[in-house]
Amino acid sequence: MLRPESPQEDRISTLFWIMFGGCLVGLGVVAAFLLLGWLRRHRPGLPGGGGDNAGSGIVIVLGVAVPIVVLSALFWYSDLHALNATAAPAAGSGQLQVEVTGHQWFWEVRYPGTEAVTANEIHIPAGVGVELIAKTADVIHSFWVPRLARKIDMIPGHPNRIELYARDPGIYRGRCSEFCGLQHANMQLLVVAESQQQFQRWLADMGAPAAEPAGAHANRGRGLFLENACAGCHTIRGTAATGTLGPDLTHLGSRLTLGAGTLRNTTGDLAAWVLDPHQAKPGNRMPRLSLPKSDFNDLIAYLETLR
């Protein structure tokens, strides 16, 4: 929020600094009064004590008149001017839509009008306003990428929208900011802003089904994936795996993180994750898999191919 990357966030940041300045003044005035009292301690008879009604004027001016004016000004500035500049887009107004659905505890990301499905990672073209539709599959989550936009709650039966905009290409962190249960802390996401061409290529890749695994190990791994519990929860498009409880894994290998930002997506971390998902993210919904070592290696080899 302090390093804004979008016009909306610029507004919010400016608003903050204005209010922060006001706060310093307010705090300064009160501190000055207290200091004055401190200087006058133990000194009866100083002029300025006044009668019963002395000082009421100060209270009326500083306690009523000035605040009413200042706060009314803030009200109109923030809740008209700034609010309308950061307002949610009307439904269907964006040239690009992305639909993000919160799950305990990961983010499902879809691009309406395309086949693309991914998780925990939103790609957008830099410099283009994207209409983000926020939904939830279970409890209330809240979508928040501090450097790009205000947050928006994901409420059951009540889809919400915000505009997601990144001025420059880059990777922006976000996290769930409404408490959503045991692993609320590990429900993070990344927004990857890239050039329009890169984005279009990425989107096309995401829309494609998984490639056929190359090599015997990976091929065996696919079999294991489909035979074991994996396929019951995960979808890999182009295979018989169509579970919906966990994130879509069709292009798992292309993502930067695992477990909604819990681990980096490296071979070692992937193996550690599949071996015991509860090590890094205790209590998440993915069960521990007990496979012989060779099977396990093949499974990982297969998952590595999902790019």
């Binding site: 000082g55 009421s56 009200f75 809740d79 950061t86 928006i152 996290r175 205790p282």
Partner: protein
């Protein structure tokens, strides 16, 4: 300490009152007491115990968050800790401490009454409080504590996502707790209305009492919203109702609206007793009448009143229509004004008086600094776009801890020092008191101020851990160190007061030359508070020396003595004219006998024994009938 008397007649009269009012000694006396001071002490020590528990929870939370990726407690335990920490501090500490202990003990003394309007109800309220607190903690101790956060949003709190008993402990416990709070609030309202000393018309009522009155009204009108909400939740969870199920025509936002209709006024109920205490301490130590007294009195009421119209600012990120959000943003800004009135009245009084910065006033100075800081960050939430950016981050955590720890608890701590001589008859240790203030004050800043910054950096609330490299580590470590400093400051207060209880010099009735009637009584006050009911001619009765001399004369003459049994005068609501003579009940086991079956009702509901709950409810009615068969009689 005995009452100063100068003639045998007066002595005889005081002895007679003593004989009438003195309750049974020993444990049985404490179980059956109806005396507001004893009940106040019970509330005090019980809520203090819950404060200690909530403090330990806070330290565990801070220890877990001292660095990234720590494993001091498991995520499940962490979630229970912050949920129970919130519930404890709000429902089991600040409110019972503010009205149950401070209000109960001091309000009758300040208005020149001998007890609350409904002494037995007062004791019942204590039993409900104790039982509901134990009820909520039973869940935590059984490892099945509530873990859905203190505002318990559905659907997370529905049975599907919180299948254990934790949410039920929370919901039933809070319904039970609000019965206690409502009873105390009702009692305080009627007492302030009807039991003020003759002459104490509304314009002469101490500001402390205005604050207590405001809190009580806030609670009476806010708690029903919570009760309704919790009943909906339990009906959904246990009996399959559809209040919060959007697929079946319910609404998840209904929970949030009802919760915050209660929740935001509750925040003001938390801060108001503190404001009352500040307005007691400041004139005593500035040795000057409060500046803008009528404005301050009304401001205390207005804080509570306008506080009912701001609830949806907790929900600006839910995507409600802009036009509805506007109403709450506007009210949120203007609810600041009653507070600015008070802040400038306090600071101007200090600045224009001849202040003595003894420990209680130091705590109030600290309170003002913390309140202004937390208040200014609170103003920011009325700017909807900014609120939408920082809500549910540590910025909010910082803000409300400045308010409901810094601003609400510092005056309670200062008040403990201030009234320590009144309650115990002994003075506390001043150097230790100052040291404890600075430790607690600096600890508070170090704990809570960096939270603003990590919040702005993107750290969200209620995370049991975070990753390294986000730039949050140093701030979090500082916060944890601060929390231990703060704890040390609080322990030092306890040490000071415990030592002074034994070794402190004798204080006398009014060591501060304070202006309110609580200081007219000996320290500690006798069970009947006042041998003769004082007559009041200003808002600062102890500074009207003639009137207090007149009290002494009236004791000789037996005027306004009321010594034919447990008697107390009732006065009219507006102008406190003598109205009738009340006979108050004497000690009674009935409150305990009612509280026991009511507690069982909640246990039965928790364990789904609905028939058993009905039977226990019937038992409670029988006990109530027994209660009301014993009518207060003239002695």
């Amino acid at each position: 300490m005995a009452i100063e008397v100068y003639t045998p007649t007066a002595r005889r009269r005081v002895d007679r009152l003593d004989a009438i009012w003195t309750e049974r000694p020993g444990l049985l006396g404490w179980l059956t007491t109806v005396n507001h001071k004893r009940i106040g002490l019970l509330f005090f020590f019980t809520s203090l115990a819950f404060f200690a528990a909530g403090g330990v929870e806070a330290l565990l939370i801070r220890t877990q968050l001292a660095g990234p990726g720590l494993g001091v407690v498991s995520p499940s335990v962490f979630n229970q800790l912050f949920t129970v920490h919130g519930v404890t501090m709000i429902f089991l500490f600040v409110i019972p401490m503010g009205i149950g202990a401070f209000g109960n003990y001091l309000l009758p003394l300040m208005i020149g009454a001998r007890d609350l309007a409904f002494p037995r109800l007062n004791m019942l309220s204590y039993w409900f409080f104790l039982a509901s607190g134990c009820f909520i903690y039973a869940g935590l101790l059984m490892g099945d504590g509530p873990d859905q956060g203190w505002f318990s949003y559905v659907p997370l709190a529905d049975r599907e996502f919180s299948p254990g008993l934790g949410v039920d402990f929370y919901a039933l416990g809070l319904i039970f707790n609000s019965m206690s709070t409502t009873a105390t609030a009702t009692n305080l309202i009627v007492t302030t209305f009807k039991a003020r000393a003759p002459g104490m018309s509304l314009n002469r009522m101490p500001l402390f009492c205005y604050a207590q009155l405001a809190v009580s009204f806030v609670l009476v009108f806010a708690l029903p919203a919570l009760t309704v909400d919790l009943v909906f939740l339990e009906l959904d969870r246990r009996l399959g109702f559809q209040f919060f199920e959007p697929a079946n025509g319910g609404s998840t936002l209904l929970w949030q609206h009802l919760f915050w209709i209660f929740g935001h006024p509750e925040v003001y109920a938390i801060i108001l007793p503190a404001m009352g205490i500040a307005t007691s301490i400041i004139p005593a130590f500035a040795q000057r009448k409060m500046i803008a007294f009528p404005l301050v009195a009304l401001a205390e009421l207005l804080v509570g009143f306008i506080g009912f119209g701001v609830w949806a600012h907790h929900m600006f990120a839910v995507g409600m229509p802009t036009v509805t959000a506007i109403f709450f943003a506007g009210a949120t800004l203007m609810v600041v004004i009653p507070s600015t009135i008070q802040i400038f009245a306090w600071t101007t009084t200090v600045a224009m008086g001849t202040p003595v910065f003894a420990t209680p006033l130091l705590f109030i100075g600290g309170f003002i600094a913390l309140f202004v800081t937390g208040g200014l960050s609170g103003i920011m939430f009325a700017a909807i776009p900014f609120d939408q950016a920082v809500t549910d981050t540590y910025f909010v955590v910082a803000h409300f801890h400045f308010i409901i720890f810094g601003a609400a608890v510092f005056p309670l701590l200062g008040g403990m020092y201030f009234w320590f001589p009144k309650v115990t008859g002994r003075m506390y240790n001043e150097p230790l008191g100052k040291a404890s203030f600075w430790l607690a004050f600096l600890g508070t800043w170090l704990t809570f101020f960096p939270m603003h910054i990590v919040g702005l950096l993107g750290m969200t609330r209620r995370v049991y851990t975070y990753q390294p490299g986000l730039g949050w580590d140093a701030y979090n470590l500082a916060e944890t160190i601060g929390s231990y400093l703060l704890a040390a400051g609080l322990v030092l207060i306890a040490v000071n007061l415990c030592l002074s209880l034994v070794r402190g010099p004798i204080a006398g009735p009014n060591p501060w030359h304070a202006p309110t009637l609580d200081w007219a009584t000996p320290s500690p006050p006798p069970e009947f508070n006042f041998p003769v009911i004082p007559r009041v001619r200003s808002a600062y009765p102890m500074w009207d020396a003639d009137d207090r001399l007149d009290d002494r004369r009236r004791l000789e003459d037996g005027e306004l003595l009321f010594d034919a049994g447990h008697q107390m005068p009732a006065t009219t609501v507006r102008d406190a004219d003598l109205d009738e003579i009340l006979k108050l009940p004497t000690e009674s086991a009935s409150p305990l006998l009612v509280a026991l079956p009511v507690t069982l009702v909640f246990v039965m509901l928790l364990t789904s024994h609905y028939i058993g709950a009905g039977l226990c409810g019937a038992l409670a009615l029988v006990a109530l009938a027994g209660w009301h068969s014993r009518e207060p009689q003239a002695a």
